[in-house]
């Protein structure tokens, strides 16, 4: 079996006594798509923040390509190849769409400005935003802003890509399109962690799912079996729905 590209060992993060992440141990293989699901407040975004170095861990270890990254700053982790998108999209509002994506290829991709530009154009073509290249990022509609986040992350040349609610707020056909893009990214050998609210997305996309509940791993395994796990159904949908689901 291959070495995991990203590994969490007993990762815990507390906020004033509350365990937002509780002893989480996970491993991610190169090129796989993993769904990270759980009800609101389960600690999904906290986990993303811990991996990307935006929050320090309280205890435990995060290893990337065999080395611990818990003491690294966010920009170092980003340059090392772990990219993320934000649940609430965060474009550089006064820059053009192209400049936004170039930010990714210049700094994390460590390219000169010319090469960075080419790389950014390529990423924009991939997410089909090339026609909007010279528009200020603030003028994009929501679906396109989500794609911009995706293009920016891609331009960073990542090996691991964490997509935080990248489909939230999109309509059905927009989601279908986004799923196609995510699959195509995974085919490049990039590990994708899809943080999702919508079960449909995970079911269609991921081979494997991890369910977080109250900061801890509740269930983990192939998507089908995880989704049938009665504990998951109860945690995710609540008691009332669990009963209806069952009968």
């Amino acid at each position: 079996m291959a070495e995991p590209i990203l590994e969490l060992r007993n990762v815990t993060r507390t906020f004033g006594g509350v365990r937002a992440t509780d002893d989480v141990s996970l491993a991610f293989m190169p090129g796989e798509i993993v769904g990270l699901i759980g009800p609101n407040g389960a600690g999904k975004t906290t986990l993303v923040n811990l991996i990307s170095g935006f929050l320090p861990v309280s205890s435990g270890e995060i290893r990337y390509e065999g080395r611990s990254i818990v003491r690294q700053a966010p920009h170092q982790i980003a340059r090392a190849g772990i990219a993320r998108t934000f649940q609430i999209v965060q474009p550089f509002a006064q820059m053009t769409v192209l400049e936004n994506v170039m930010a990714g290829s210049i700094f994390a991709g460590a390219l000169g400005l010319k090469a960075a530009r080419a790389k950014a154009v390529e990423a924009l073509e991939f997410v089909r935003l090339a026609p909007f290249m010279d528009m200020p990022a603030s003028e994009l509609a929501l679906a396109n802003r989500k794609r911009l986040e995706l293009a920016k992350s891609l331009a960073m040349n990542p090996r691991v890509l964490m997509l935080d609610e990248v489909n939230a707020g999109l309509n059905s056909s927009e989601i279908t399109e986004a799923l196609g893009m995510i699959r195509a990214i995974a085919e490049r050998g990039i590990t994708i962690i899809v943080i999702e609210h919508l079960i449909r997305v995970v079911a269609e996309l991921a081979e494997r799912a991890v369910v977080l509940h109250h900061g801890a791993v509740l269930s983990e395994g192939p998507v089908d079996s995880v989704l049938k796990d009665p504990r998951v159904v109860e945690a995710y949908l609540g008691n009332r729905f669990a009963r209806r689901f069952a009968g």
Binding site: F54, P74, A78, R84, F92
Partner: protein, 326 residues
């Protein structure tokens, strides 16, 4: 660096302006030289502020702290019988070093706290200059050896030196504007969190901009001190000046390569032709100008859409939209 044709043209225009100023030095009278020198000095300070306040979006009010530190360093070093060039170099280095120390601490703050923290540096520096008699001469001030030569020669000399410094500040801005450093600063201005997530070393970039700004301001302070040959705390560390500088840049246009020059030129013209005639209303008129700039030129001269042929005049240009919701 990405250099398109328009940008190269802009650089050429800028350099031509400076060259013109340098050649005219030999036909200007003493008064004109004096005005030109203070214009060049303000331009340096505005360019220095623009790096931190304009490109990076941090409302620094420490420009004059570094200016004053440069002035005192120059005075102290010259009084140790060192050459004037050594004193200026020492001034720039002192400015950079203190900016490094202060920046590491202050740049963790944002918005009001950063602004007030930077004002505090000015107050502390002035108090130290006031009270550390042995080093600074205290409130009495510090005398600095006068440059030898005729008034014309000395006036021309300092004008050219200050102009050279302004050219340097302009070129630094040009480079910053077009390289990854400036690109990173602009990202930081818009969203610091997103900036670190695309791999920008936010802390290092911010400190680097602050140090660059501090060195330029201090160098201007050093040359100024040698020129006036006498400095005192309330002149070297002047609160009004430290707020005037951002106002000038706002007047010209923040985060642009010509904004600081236009703003400071406009300001000097006002100073010479308007205030000179209303000596008792100096600060009141300055206040009116500040209020006027904020309401009528919120994006500065360069960021404002001027009335077009069709006579439309949008009062608020896009460039004036809030960059940080502090």
């Amino acid at each position: 660096m990405i250099l398109d044709r328009t940008f190269l043209l802009k650089i050429a225009v800028g350099l031509a302006l400076f060259a013109l100023a340098a050649f005219s030095a030999f036909s200007l009278d003493n008064y004109q030289l004096q005005v030109g020198t203070s214009l060049a000095m303000l331009a340096v300070l505005c360019y220095a502020w623009n790096l931190v306040g304009g490109y990076m979006g941090y409302p620094s009010l420490a420009t004059i702290t570094f200016f004053g530190i440069g002035a005192y360093t120059d005075g102290i070093v010259q009084n140790l019988d060192q050459a004037i060039g050594v004193a200026w170099l020492a001034a720039a280095i002192a400015g950079a070093a203190i900016a490094l120390l202060l920046g590491a601490a202050l740049l963790r703050l944002k918005g009001h706290y950063f602004a007030i923290g930077t004002i505090a540096t000015l107050e502390v520096a002035r108090e130290i200059a006031n009270n550390w008699d042995a080093l600074t001469g205290g409130a009495i001030g510090l005398n600095i050896p006068i440059q030898m030569g005729s008034p014309e020669f000395v006036g021309r000399f300092f004008f050219l030196v200050m102009l050279a410094l302004a050219v340097a500040a302009f070129l630094v801005t040009v480079v910053v504007d077009r390289t990854r450093f400036g690109f990173g600063l602009r990202c930081i201005r818009q969203n610091e969190q997103a900036a670190s997530m695309v791999g920008i070393d936010v802390v290092r970039y911010k400190v680097a901009a602050f140090v660059l700004s501090g060195a330029l301001s201090a160098a201007a302070g050093g040359v100024y001190a040698s020129m006036v040959a006498y400095i005192e705390p309330k002149d070297a560390f002047n609160l009004v000046k430290t707020i005037e500088i951002p106002v000038m840049v706002m007047l010209g246009g923040m985060g642009t390569i010509f904004g600081p020059l236009i703003g400071s030129a406009f300001y000097v013209v006002l100073n010479e032709f308007v205030w000179a005639n209303f000596i008792n209303w100096h600060s009141g008129i300055l206040g009116l100008i500040i209020v006027g700039v904020i309401y009528f030129l919120p994006g500065g001269v360069l960021g404002t859409r001027w009335p077009s042929a069709k006579g439309r005049m949008p009062m608020r240009a896009r460039a004036a939209q809030p960059r940080t919701t502090a």
